[in-house]
């Protein structure tokens, strides 16, 4: 299988790898680079557990070819906490019991981050829409929705 070089920034750090042509970004992040925060739940674009942010857009890393990410800026849940301080979304998920088994949590947090980056004061419907591509099988969606709304309120209080 032909190997192709790919360079991108991951959570602000430069990464350069040779990947097999056709390999997914999920595989490159988890098995080559060692960022295992995106999870492989279905490998077919339906569960959302592998969600990452590429150049500001929410993307499913199981459906994104690694070789198409040249020059991109990629953010994963592993890169959200700064200086050991949790991101407001991480804090809210922790406080609101919005994680149970935790497998869907990194993908949920990525989807929520893209929403709050664009819509700092979302309605409940906005949150439901933004998380609609992410499947949770144990926590139930209500604590997750409440956590995102709580994080949004914390953000707007900081801004004010």
């Amino acid at each position: 299988m032909a190997k192709v070089p790919v360079q991108f920034t991951l959570n602000g750090s430069e990464k350069a790898e040779f990947v097999e042509s056709g390999a997914t970004l999920l595989h490159a992040l988890r098995d080559k680079i060692g960022d295992t925060s995106p999870k492989g739940g279905c490998h077919q674009g339906t569960c959302g557990a592998c969600s990452v942010i590429i150049d500001g857009e929410l993307r499913l890393s199981c459906l994104t070819l690694a070789e198409t990410c040249n020059g991109a800026a990629i953010t994963t849940t592993a890169g959200l906490a700064e200086g050991g301080v949790l991101h407001p979304l991480q804090r809210a998920f922790l406080d609101a019991f919005a994680t149970q088994c935790g497998f869907c949590t990194p993908g949920m947090i990525m989807a929520a981050k893209v929403l709050l980056d664009r819509t700092p004061n979302p309605s409940r419907e906005d949150v439901v829409e933004a998380l609609s591509g992410n499947i949770c099988r144990c926590t139930g969606y209500e604590p997750i929705i409440q956590a995102v709304l709580t994080a949004a309120r914390a953000n707007s209080q900081n801004a004010a």
């Binding site: 988890r30 098995d31 060692g34 960022d35 295992t36 925060s37 995106p38 999870k39 492989g40 739940g41 279905c42 490998h43 077919q44 569960c47 557990a49 994963t76 849940t77 592993a78 959200l80 906490a81 949790l86 991480q90 804090r91 998920f93 922790l94 019991f97 994680t99 088994c101 935790g102 497998f103 869907c104 949590t105 990194p106 947090i109 499947i135 949770c136 099988r137 144990c138």
Partner: protein, 455 residues
């Protein structure tokens, strides 16, 4: 959250300082930062990928298996068949003396359900393993299959599992689990009304977000570390020890982090074959179900059929209950004999009925083996029982909640299993439910208590 400490204040110790307070879960900081290590987050150099060749038939004799083309496929390291497994026939609950051993790790001579594991292929990459698995040739002689429990119990039905000799589990109480209390026929004879209804359910898949699997690495000295998402660590350790004929001291299981399970990860399916593969190749091995396998191959909740016959008086008392329950185990036992047994204990419901007769069968069919799932054996039973209760109330024109107050068991009542009721709180739960749901009941029911029998 409101905590009601006034109930049974005179009989219980009041040490409930934790209830009603928030406590952070120890694992949630790892979850929100993406640092929690699930089994598949371990990656070892030189790790092999295991893919299973599975039966395309529900019931077939295996005439021959030809692995020669698969072995020649680029990247393939080893191909395993039943001959490679030291103790190939097992059953999970043998550890608590529930037998016989009735399931093969890799099929030997016969397959009994569509999806049964036949040959394991180990290769350098997942893709090579998949391609090679497609090259394994298995010659099958298709046999008649049975998919319906009542058909399976009829004389002359195809025999699903020779290790049982008949299409039901043989309990020490006979062909079914039985409860006998009072005289059910006399109860029916004296009843004002009789209502018999059947209820049935389909298999249900747990669909955990993380699929079933494990990663095994050889540690030298013939010891192996298995990172797994099993929900049953010691069942897995002990059954693996039996299947591989290796002392438990050679096996180090690392688990406790499970990406959703709901009972779907209590079977011992992936670990023994992955450890055997690591032992025979000397290399790390990962065996992970694809999403398709998780949905089609992993054990579902059993399909059940429940026939309930109740004798009822005009004043609302249930005087007789006869229940026949059927649990579809699929082709192998796994946890289903236990599920059927739980049903037998459960079918009287939380009600005081003087005459009870219950039979529950664990039936073998050529369907996917069923196993544990969230209250298996009693969940469908509860659905059936409570629908039946609503129908009984409607039959005599009584409010369905008041009807349950009349029949609810209370402290001191004798249960059908001849165990006196202690610590009941059903009356109090229903009183709270009546208030919370704004479903008023007559004052005399609000004055009742599970503890004192005044009404």
């Amino acid at each position: 959250m409101e905590l009601r400490k006034d109930y049974f204040a005179d009989v219980r110790k009041d040490g409930l300082h934790e209830i009603g307070q928030g406590r952070p879960r120890l694992d949630s900081p790892g979850h929100v930062t993406g640092k929690t290590a699930y089994f598949a987050d371990r990656n070892f150099p030189g790790m092999l990928h295991l893919k299973m060749v599975r039966s395309p038939h529900h019931h077939a004799r295996i005439r021959s298996i030809d692995t020669s083309q698969a072995e020649k496929h680029p990247g393939v390291v080893k191909v395993l068949t039943a001959n490679d497994v030291p103790h190939n026939v097992y059953t999970i609950l043998i550890l608590i003396q529930i037998g016989p051993e009735d399931e093969t790790v890799l099929a030997d001579g016969k397959v009994r359900w569509k999806g049964e594991a036949v040959v394991a292929v180990l290769a350098e990459t997942e893709r090579a393993a998949q391609e090679a698995a497609a090259k394994v040739k298995v010659d099958y002689e298709v046999l008649p299959a049975v998919f319906d429990m009542e058909e399976a119990l009829k004389p002359g039905a195809p025999l699903v599992n020779e290790y049982h000799g008949q299409n039901y589990y043989l309990y020490d109480s006979g062909e079914c689990r039985k409860v006998r209390f009072g005289n059910v026929e006399a109860g029916f004879a004296g009843a004002d009304h009789i209502l018999e209804q059947s209820y049935q359910s389909s298999p249900i898949e747990h669909a955990p977000t993380e699929t079933t699997g494990c990663v095994v690495t050889p540690e030298g000295n013939d010891r192996f570390t298995c990172y797994t998402n099993t929900q049953a660590m010691f069942f897995t350790l002990d059954n693996t020890s039996i299947i591989l004929q290796m002392p438990g001291s050679k096996l180090h299981f690392v688990g406790g982090t499970v990406g959703g399970g709901f009972g779907g990860k209590v079977d011992v399916i992936v670990e023994p074959i992955a450890i055997l593969a690591a032992k025979l190749t000397g290399r790390p091995v990962c065996f992970i179900y694809s999403r398709e396998e998780e949905m089609q191959i992993s054990s579902p909740r059993a399909a059940e059929k429940v026939v309930i016959k109740d004798g009822l008086m005009k004043d609302g008392r249930i005087v007789a209950r006869k229940v026949t329950g059927y649990t579809d185990a699929g082709a192998y036992s796994r946890h289903s004999p236990y599920g059927a047994q739980k049903g037998a204990a459960h079918y009287p419901g939380p009600y005081t009925i003087p005459n009870v007769w219950i039979d529950t069968y664990c039936v073998y069919t050529n369907r996917t083996p069923s196993s544990a799932m969230r209250g298996f054996g009693v969940t469908i039973g509860d659905f059936a029982l409570e629908v039946q209760m609503d129908k009984l109330a409607r039959l005599i024109g009584m409010d369905p909640l008041e009807f349950r107050f009349i029949n609810a068991y209370r402290d001191g009542d004798m249960k059908a299993h001849r165990q006196p009721t202690e610590g009941a709180a059903l009356i109090e739960c229903m009183q709270e439910a009546s208030r919370a749901a704004n479903w008023p009941v007559a004052e005399k029911y609000m004055a009742m208590s599970s503890y004192r029998k005044e009404a």
